[in-house]
Amino acid sequence: MEGNGKSMTKAEIAELVSTKGGYSKKDANEMVEVLLEQIKKTLERGDKIKIAGFGNFEVKKKSDRRGRNPQTGEELTIQSRRVLAFKPSAVLKNAINENS
């Protein structure tokens, strides 16, 4: 894995919302939670989320397919399922490549 090893958490995002937006920590925490839950509910319904300048989150359907248990070699059917895919916007991709 790459990067400077640091990791940002939800609490730190809320902290930034609090300091930069001028909200109390409690309100900022709550707003971040409400926003994330809104996004999760939308995706759960199978709808897309499009954030200009950031990227799109999309639910994709994967149909049944044949697979193999890599340990035993046994053949099995992998059930159809729905997975979430993130497609970063060109703006985000370019920004990440700028200061390197």
């Binding site: 937006g21 909200y23 499009k50 979430l84 920004a95 990440i96 490549n97 700028e98």
Partner: protein, 95 residues
């Protein structure tokens, strides 16, 4: 759903929030994630997922039209891994 629809929903759910406040909050959240990724940091949001920056090595490719070999330099790309809770919630059985 677009960012402006998210902004509207957030303002509707919290009557004390103006639309302007709501817009600022949504922007601050996504800008915080983008800024962290620009610094090469990882972003971990419990129950939602994590964003990381992946390195893709330099490679040679061909221009499909001319057949010329082109050198593609190494680049970084944002990557999202869905968290457990969201992965399970998205994968609900279809009615």
């Amino acid at each position: 759903m677009t960012k402006s629809e998210l902004v509207e929903q957030l303002a509707e759910k919290n009557t004390w929030l103006t639309r302007k406040d709501s817009e600022m909050i949504v922007n601050l959240v996504f800008d915080s994630i983008s800024d962290a990724l620009k610094r090469g940091e990882k972003v971990e949001i419990r129950g939602f997922g994590s964003f990381t920056v992946r390195e893709r090595g330099a490679r040679e490719a061909r221009n499909p039209k001319s057949g010329d070999v082109v050198k593609i330099p190494a680049k970084k790309t944002p990557f999202f891994k869905t968290g457990k809770e969201l992965r399970e919630r998205v994968n609900t059985k279809e009615e």
